[in-house]
């Protein structure tokens, strides 16, 4: 495993790895829906754990746009004042 992940490897696997993580979580009584660990993802995709960890970490940052952070304060203040039930 190189010190930094190969960007071709990253681009090839980032979407499928992202889908297997905790980015979207579902809870349902008596049914397990948890996101997978890096080890479990590596085993499923035939990659090394180190490669999955690197790809996941970069994807977690890259998949959320900078604009979402820059707009967040306005979104939160608007919603803070909104009455429940008003979409």
């Amino acid at each position: 495993m190189p010190r930094f992940v190969n960007i071709d490897l990253y681009n090839r696997h980032k979407d499928e790895i992202w889908k297997l993580t905790n980015a979207k979580q579902r809870f349902e009584s008596q049914i397990s829906h948890r996101g997978l660990t890096d080890r479990e993802i590596a085993s499923q995709l035939g990659l090394t754990v180190a490669a999955v960890t690197e790809i996941r970490c970069i994807a977690e940052n890259e998949m959320i746009s900078l604009e979402k952070y820059l707009d967040a304060d306005d979104t939160k203040e608007q919603r803070y004042k909104r009455a429940p039930g008003k979409m």
Binding site: R26, F27, S32, I64, L66, L70, A72, E77, M87
Partner: protein, 279 residues
Amino acid sequence: MDAKAQIVEKALSLGARAAGIAAVDSINRFAPSGYRPDDILQGALSVIVLGGNAPTAGSWRSGTNRVLGSVGYNRSQLTAAARRLAYFVEDHLGYYAIPIPSGNRTGHYPYISLKLCADRAGLGSRSMAGGVILNPQYGLLYFNAVITTMPLEEDGPLADPVCPHSSCVRLWEKKKTTPCISSCPDCLSGEIKAGRIHWMEYRQDCCYPRAQTTSMDVFQKLLLEAVDESDADRRKAILFGSHFTRAVRSIAYSSELSAQCFNCLKRCPVVKRPSRRLR
């Protein structure tokens, strides 16, 4: 006083508002390999969970999200309490102990799930609001914990879930929504059936930039934006601008790093309950 009572009393004296015990065996039935207490401390048998550090009731009344998210709460006290409790267990009770870091191990993944530990320790149950653990007495709590080799009796999950509150069940029956879902319908979705959470979904990727608006990720993103920017004036605007400045300050002072949104819980009847007696 037995050892468990001593530990709970010590945790409360160190600043926790609630404390409970989870058994490692019980946690391991749900936690995947690599995220179990005995992956961190060999021979671990128990996890002491501390809850506290939530916003004061006055913070919820601040009127602005920025004040609530920036100055209304602070998580550092509970981290210090967990470390001091770990020393107490080793020095006075004679067992190995290690505080669980509340931060992430790699990327957005934690060392272990403190929500799971809190659930097994009877400190609350998962809510429609992103699975946040709600405590029946205090509503929102943050959690820290101490893993130990000491055998302790588990408190176990609550017999009755805290969420949904009866008023939320009535609202669901009438309007098919809850205060948390209607406050943040893009992060949250779910369904109540027979007065219980039937299912709920939480989009962490949607929540993240709102809950961690000035944390490490945005620091990295703005830094990359500046490095990639060829125009010197624009580069200065990015690095000296208010958002990057807040991000730097957040990292320097370990403040404003997480939980900066609170919108899903601002009208939660369980969270609002403790403030009803205040003037």
